[in-house]
Symmetry: C2
Subunit: 206 residues, 2 copies
C-alpha cells in the first residue's frame, strides 16, 4: 500500500460522523491505536489505555447517555457552532445530530483512557492527564485517515463518565477524556477549512 | 519536495531537546502552525492562538522560570521517568536537563494558547480547553518532523503562567497549556519505542 503523505493526511482528515455498517478488522484497530501510542506523554510515562467497544448492548448504553447530553445541549451547541468562523455550521450540526442518534450503529467506539493527577499535583489533583492523552488521540485520528477509516473526536460521554466506566469496568483512577467512533466513512474525507493562520499567530507578543 | 509519509512521520517524530542555533524561517513556523490548525476543536470553534517568541531577553525570562521548575522537580522527575516501561530513562533525563538549561538558545519558543471554560461549564470553569489545543499541538509536532525541524512538547512553564503571560501580553482569559521549542535538530529523529500495544488495548471490557 502506498502510504498517504503526512500533510495530505492532516489537511484532509475531516471529522467523519456518518459511517457504513461494515465491520472494522481488529488488526486495523490495533494499527491506529499503536500509531496513537507514538505520541508523546509527560516523562514518557505512557499513562494510557484504550477500550475497544463493539458490543451492541454496550454501544446502546453509551449512545443513550451521549444523545441525552447532546440534545440537552442542542440549542447551546447550535449557538456555539454558529459562532465558528469557518466551515459550514449547519452541516456540522446535522452531522453531529446524526452521530448522536446513531452512535450505537458505529462499528467501533474507542475509549481513550488516561490516569489522573495525584496529590503530588496540588490544584490538578484528580484531573485527567489531558496533555498525555490528546496528542495520542490526534495520532489515532490521523492514522484512521491514513488507512481510509473515518473517525472523529468526541467528549460528551464524559458527562456520564462514572456510569459508562462502571459498565466498561474502567478503574476509578482512570479517566476517558476522549471517545472516538470508528468505521468506514459514509461521509467523505476532504479539504479542511480553517481560519487563516495570520489571524491566530502573534509574533513576539500578543 | 517529496512528502514524508504519515506513518513514517508518526513513528519517527522523536522529542528533540537539543537544537542547532541556525534560525528558523517565519514561513516554516507559519507552515507548522497552519498544520496545527487542521486539528479538530470542540464545535470547530478553533479557540486557539500561537505566540512565536524569538527575542533573547524574553526567552531568557522563560528559561529561568522553566529551569527553576525543572530542577525543583528533578528528583521526582527522575523517579517518574525511571518508572517508564520503555525507552532510555537516563537519556531522556539528560536531554530534558539540557533543554531546561538551554531553552533560551532554542531559536523559537511557540506558546500554544487556548481559551478557558466559562461559567456554562460548572466543574471546569477557568480550566483551559485542553481537548481543543492538544490535538493541534500534536499536529504541530508532526509537521515539524515533516519539514525536518526538531520540536518537543513541554508544559513546565505553566507553573509560572501568570508571569510569563504578563510578559507576552497574553490576555487573562487565555491559557497556554503547551510550549513547543522549535529549531533544527542536533539530536536525531528516528524510531520511537513504546510499550507493546497489546498491553494497553482492552477488548469490550477493561
Amino acid at each position: 500500500m502506498s502510504e498517504i503523505g503526512l500533510f495530505e493526511a492532516m489537511y484532509t482528515a475531516r471529522a467523519i460522523r456518518r459511517f457504513r455498517p461494515d465491520p472494522v478488522p481488529d488488526e486495523l484497530v490495533a494499527k491506529v491505536v499503536e500509531a496513537g501510542t507514538m505520541a508523546p506523554s509527560a516523562t514518557n510515562a505512557q499513562p494510557w489505555a484504550f477500550v475497544v467497544v463493539r458490543d451492541g448492548d454496550v454501544k446502546r448504553f453509551v449512545q443513550e447517555r451521549y444523545a441525552e447530553t447532546f440534545h440537552a445541549a442542542y440549542a447551546r451547541a447550535r449557538d456555539m457552532i454558529g459562532r465558528g468562523a469557518s466551515g459550514n455550521p449547519k452541516r456540522l450540526l446535522d452531522a453531529a445530530t446524526h452521530l448522536a442518534d446513531h452512535l450505537h450503529e458505529v462499528p467501533v467506539l474507542l475509549f481513550c483512557c488516561v490516569t489522573r493527577y495525584g496529590a503530588e499535583h496540588p490544584g490538578r489533583e484528580h484531573q485527567p492527564r489531558y496533555d498525555s492523552i490528546f496528542p495520542a488521540v490526534q495520532n489515532v485520528l490521523l492514522a484512521c485517515r491514513g488507512v481510509g477509516l473515518g473517525a472523529c473526536l468526541t467528549t460528551l460521554h464524559t458527562v456520564h463518565e462514572r456510569e459508562i466506566h462502571d459498565r466498561l469496568g474502567i478503574p476509578a483512577e482512570w479517566a476517558s477524556p476522549a471517545m472516538i467512533p470508528i468505521g468506514w466513512p459514509a461521509d467523505r474525507h476532504g479539504p479542511i477549512r480553517r481560519r487563516p493562520v495570520v489571524e491566530i499567530i502573534h509574533l513576539e507578543r500578543w
